[in-house]
């Protein structure tokens, strides 16, 4: 692998990201531009952007690494990442868009008419976002380390700085263009080496040797290759976390707000499913080829297999060029997901924590856009500090915990909040607290080592199968016990969430989002 070539490729991605970001800066003028890109982005652009933002380090590097090391059971990761969008489509896509909420706390406050529920949601957004940013920084560190041998902090720092600059400078409008560009870059970077390898190989069957024969136990599902005591439970639990966690990820909802209406939100999601399916065809191929060409990586964790494979198959210039392309794609993955998360977390920090305080401290003498910029900086500082103190967890494992937390908190809140009119405010708060505590406790035990075998290990390692039903049950039981706490405006909320935009009805006041009494940021 040639460091110079790979570094220039990474440099190009960074330059293009900043360049498109600056282009966005010139057309984003008001605070509303900053937040929602004026809601004038077509479904196709938006679908590319959603996919670009969603395909993170865990998808680009992590899935291939997991499959390489742990075998066929890990194919469920990419299946779950995709089916998560199908669940999002049928359960929440259109109603969520029609709610008019920009962030999850916005949705919670409008639906449940409670500042307390809003605050719990704000805390959870920051928590899930931080848990999800961590593996992105870890992946960036790993990529730069693989390419140049520099310590992991260097790559993480590069991503952190570029994301903060880009988000603070351009807001979401530029991010939409950046994200759409990143999807196609990532797909190209992942697909090209595979096609080149398959074309250059004289006997195509030899490529598949690792899948057959005596040494192919890893290629069997539910085998011991995963190193798990209860593979069937682990598979189902993982599937649940991924299927129902996607809708609760903070950066996903923000992206849906950019659709003009509920119908567009649905159609965008269908395009997203096609784009994700296309992308996920490739990571397993890296694992299959990796078993043949880079078997030493199996013991080394495997997360670098995508980066190293081209160089192993083609020593020399061809391998260097392909390696540089893959490194560029990996950096696109870190940048895009981190940007999306940072926008989402910064939006919450800005609205729920910072703006009122800034207003008090400065006596109103501040510009709203600056508050968002400070929030963007804060949103990245915390995960960066966490990155420097936590050890190396597998990329997809950390992401799996973020999904489990989202599935145990925001999934019940959204699904029951949208479809069940007898849900009470107390029930919503109780569900968030119980699900949040159960899933974070499992994550914490997991990170610190935890039980070493048997059922305790399986239950803690993949908690969603019990934490998610627990959260749903809590919401339902507490809501039944507190019927007097059902929000007074529930009927009107149902009208807003479910009636098509073409019907001219009273949808109630709607959420007081970013547009609330905002000064025009910069008139230039």
């Amino acid at each position: 692998m040639s460091p110079a070539l790979s570094l220039s490729a990474i440099g190009l991605v960074v330059a293009a990201t900043i360049g498109i970001g600056l282009f966005g800066l010139r057309i984003s003028r008001t605070t509303s531009d900053f937040y929602v890109a004026s809601r004038a982005i077509t479904p196709r652009w938006n679908a590319s952007a959603i996919s670009g933002e969603y395909l993170s380090a865990a998808s680009f590097l992590g899935v291939a690494g997991l499959v390489l090391v742990n075998g066929a059971d890990m194919l469920w990761f990419s299946v779950g990442y995709t089916v998560g969008y199908l669940m999002l489509l049928v359960l929440v896509a259109a109603p969520l868009r029609r709610s008019g909420a920009y962030t999850l706390p916005d949705f919670a406050e409008t639906r449940f008419e409670s500042a307390a529920v809003r605050r719990i949601c704000a805390g959870l957004v920051v928590g899930i976002g931080t848990l999800y940013l961590l593996p992105q920084l870890h992946g960036a560190g790993l990529a730069v380390q693989t390419v140049t041998g520099a310590p992991p902090q260097v790559g993480a720092m590069i991503v952190a700085v570029i994301v903060v600059i880009n988000v603070a400078a351009g807001g979401m409008r530029s991010i939409t263009f950046v994200q759409a560009f990143q999807y196609w870059l990532k797909l190209t970077a992942l697909a090209t080496p595979i096609f080149v390898i398959l074309l250059a190989w004289h006997q195509p069957t030899g490529v598949l040797d690792s899948l057959h024969g005596a040494a192919a136990e890893w290629a069997e599902p539910l085998s011991r290759a995963g190193g798990r005591a209860h593979p069937l439970y682990a598979t189902y639990s993982l599937l649940m976390a991924l299927c129902f966690g996607t809708m609760g990820l903070p950066h996903v909802l923000v992206r849906f707000y950019t659709n003009p209406d509920g119908r567009a939100a649905r159609r965008t999601t269908v395009v997203v499913l096609a784009l994700l399916g296309l992308f996920y065809l490739f990571p397993p191929m890296y694992a299959v080829l990796g078993r043949t060409f880079a078997p030493d990586l199996v013991g080394a964790g495997g997360d670098t297999v995508v980066l190293e494979l081209p160089g192993r198959v083609f020593p020399g210039t061809a391998g260097d060029l392909l390696g540089a392309l893959v490194a560029a794609g990996a950096f696109a993955a870190f940048l895009s997901t981190s940007s999306g998360l940072t926008v989402a977390i910064a939006g919450v920090i800005d609205q729920d924590l910072l703006r009122s305080r800034l207003h008090r401290w400065t006596g109103g003498d501040y510009v709203a856009v600056n508050s968002f910029r400070i929030a963007a900086l804060l949103a990245m500082v915390v995960p960066y500090l966490a990155f420097t103190v936590t050890g190396a967890l597998s990329l997809a494992d950390t992401v799996g915990l973020a999904f489990a937390l989202a599935a145990s908190t925001f999934c019940p809140l959204l699904v029951l909040g949208i479809w069940w009119r007898r849900m009470s405010t107390t029930g919503a708060a109780a569900g968030l607290v119980v699900g949040g505590i159960a899933a974070s406790a499992a994550a914490l035990v997991n990170v610190t080592g935890g039980p070493h075998g048997g059922w305790p290990r399986a239950l803690v390692g993949q908690p969603a199968a019990w934490t998610m039903p627990l959260a749903f049950l809590t919401v339902i039981v507490v809501s039944k016990l507190t019927p007097d706490k059902i929000p007074a405006g529930t009927a009107r909320s149902m009208v807003r969430l479910h009636t098509p935009e073409a019907v001219d009805v009273d949808r109630g006041p709607g959420p007081a989002t970013a547009h609330r009494a905002l000064p025009t940021a910069r008139r230039s």
Binding site: V90, V270, P284, A491, H498, V503
Partner: protein, 126 residues
């Protein structure tokens, strides 16, 4: 009718004339806006129809996806069965799943949009 600059509060019109301006049957949207019993029933039926569609899609997907690990668990030969040179689990989880999910999404969107179109026509035309 009244002159444009006359204050609204003191406008006097023939009660029969103003009554004639109102539609004889209130529209479906007004029933919903005023949260009458009928309006509630309209909304309930919309939400329930959509929910039934959603649950049908989820049940279908979970049944198909959920039975895959069970199949591998109960019928071990399927774990290594070779299809077109690839092991069956890799064909299903690596390739086949994605077009199936996409088609399910297309079918869902078509039905959901039809439900909404019917609702729009129904409450708008009353």
């Amino acid at each position: 009718m009244s002159t444009p600059d006359a204050p609204r509060r003191v406008r006097v019109t023939n009660p029969r004339a103003s009554a004639a301006k109102r539609p004889i049957n209130p529209t479906g949207t007004r029933e919903i806006d005023e949260q009458t019993r009928l309006g509630e029933i309209y909304m309930l039926s919309l939400v329930q129809t959509q929910l039934r569609l959603t649950l049908a899609v989820i049940a279908g997907v979970l049944l198909v996806l959920g039975s895959i690990p069970l199949l591998f668990w109960l019928v071990p030969p399927t774990r290594t069965l070779s299809v077109l040179g690839l092991p069956l689990p890799w064909v299903i989880l690596g390739i086949l799943v994605y077009p199936v999910v996409y088609v399910a999404a297309r079918i869902y969107v078509r039905h959901a949009e039809r439900i909404e179109a019917e609702f729009t026509e129904f409450v708008g035309r009353q």
